[in-house]
Symmetry: C2
Subunit: 294 residues, 2 copies
């Protein structure tokens, strides 16, 4: 299907994409670039890439599909480094967890060349980063959100849809705005709350003692509090407008539950909890609008 | 070790305790009482109890160990029903998730007989309630907190420690006040936040659509939001003073993280997240003060 994949950023996400395309027989050759030469060297030794490029631009040269899998903060510099080779007919995608900021940057840097860029957010990851954890199955059974612009080449959107589908992902399309609003609600806010909650525990005098009594509920509730600090710093700042809308909604909900507790209103408290408990019982991953959604 | 165990409330907790004592050869006979005769009937058919008692008082009669495993709201009525048979030398325990309210009720109802009562909180449970889910291994490897009073008979505290230890639990002792403060922090607050968060999602216009995009982080973070509404209504109200202290601490922490996001202060945001992430990475269940604690 593709002649050459250029991977810019040979980490978990970029490396897994390369392995998945290789395994599915979707690409003849993979060329990779990473800021650190030792990463590219490791990626080559692991068979994730076939050759190392000496720059991001050289990873694009001769490629008909390019994946930008760099930290969000490096997106602008990467677009600038490659823009002269962003040409019609070559599929460019990213893997960022926020989309409005990436789209804005792409618009500003790529200008009239933006039609080749199909913004993508694969809902996949692992607790352990790095190319040594790259996995050909990382995207299998997971959702990938594409947020094409009016200027995006529809042929490339179709190619993007096909390549993700062929490596086992379910592709959804929406606007960058809707994407960021939805993920502020179901991903960014829970992370923010888990960080705030864990901080509140460890910053109180008896906090360390309390931790020795915590059980399985606590373990699951706080798992995401162990996420990568620099990644989440960037996500929460990049999507701050939507995130702050969600914290406002959450505060409203917290006020309501505190109010009925203070008032000792058992029935209202039970009703409030039941609304959440019923909703959660009927939800399941990847489907999730209730039992009928299957 | 014991001649007869009286179980008042033959549900998951009471039934599992009976099965565990039987399996460990710690009791000759188990007599059970439940408000609903069909429950006691089922418990007998499943071999959880040997005989059904027609009242709570009759379940106490002839027993040298008694477990009250009734909903928190039924504690007072149960103590009243059995108080005439609360005698020195017989070990009485409960399994409630809050302890100050139980101790206060016991003091008020049992009066000078309170020495026989050893308040207990086994940190164990299952998502599915009912005697049909009773499990002899439910308490194995789990913590049990005892909160004895100055008046509690030390011989009975030792017997309580022994019986929980012999069915595989790790026994800790602390005051009812410290217990309630600790569990407000590591259990009650996370439940309250999970209820509030899930409510905030489902009560917004696009909430149902957002849910279809939620992933594994959301799944784990919200698992406890599916907990039993009437149980959690009772816990949050019974421990409301400590719970509200914890929501105040949490709000302080939420304010701080929102403040740095609004200010766009990347370094302060990263530091705040890193404090939580490092703390959570070093925590593990049942040990948990960092890597050195094992």
């Amino acid at each position: 299907m593709f002649n050459q994949l250029g991977v810019i950023g040979c980490g978990l996400m970029g490396g897994s994409f390369a392995l998945a395309l290789k395994r599915a027989g979707l690409v003849r050759r993979v060329i990779g670039y990473s800021k650190s030469p030792s990463t590219t060297e490791l990626a080559k030794r692991l068979g994730v890439i076939d050759d190392a490029a000496e720059s991001a631009l050289l990873a694009v040269s001769g490629s008909d599909i390019v994946l930008l899998a760099v930290p969000v903060a490096a997106t602008e510099a990467t677009f600038k480094a490659i823009r002269h080779l962003v040409e019609p007919g070559v599929l460019f995608m990213d893997v960022g967890s926020t989309k409005r900021d990436v789209v804005d940057t792409a618009r500003r840097v790529l200008k009239e060349r933006i039609g080749a860029f199909v913004p993508a957010h694969p809902i996949a990851g692992k607790e352990s980063a790095g190319v040594q954890h790259a996995d050909a199955s990382l995207y299998s059974g997971r959702q990938v959100i594409l947020t094409p612009l009016p200027q995006t080449d529809p042929v490339l959107v179709q190619k993007a849809t096909d390549v993700w589908s062929k490596i086992g992902a379910q592709v959804l399309k929406m606007s960058a705005e809707n994407h960021d609003a939805a993920f502020a609600a179901v991903s960014h806010l829970p992370h923010l709350l888990a960080f705030a909650y864990f901080s509140a525990i460890v910053n109180q005098p008896a906090g360390r003692d309390f931790l020795s009594l915590a059980g399985p509920g606590f373990r699951d509730f706080t798992r995401i509090a162990a996420s990568d600090p620099s990644v989440w710093r960037d996500i929460l700042l990049a999507n701050r407008e939507e995130v702050l809308k969600q914290t406002a909604r959450f505060r409203h909900s917290l006020d309501a539950i505190e109010h009925v507790i203070k008032a000792g209103n058992a029935q209202a408290l039970e009703d409030l909890i039941r609304g959440a408990a019923d909703g959660r019982s009927n939800w399941q991953i990847g489907g999730g609008r209730g039992p009928s959604a299957k």
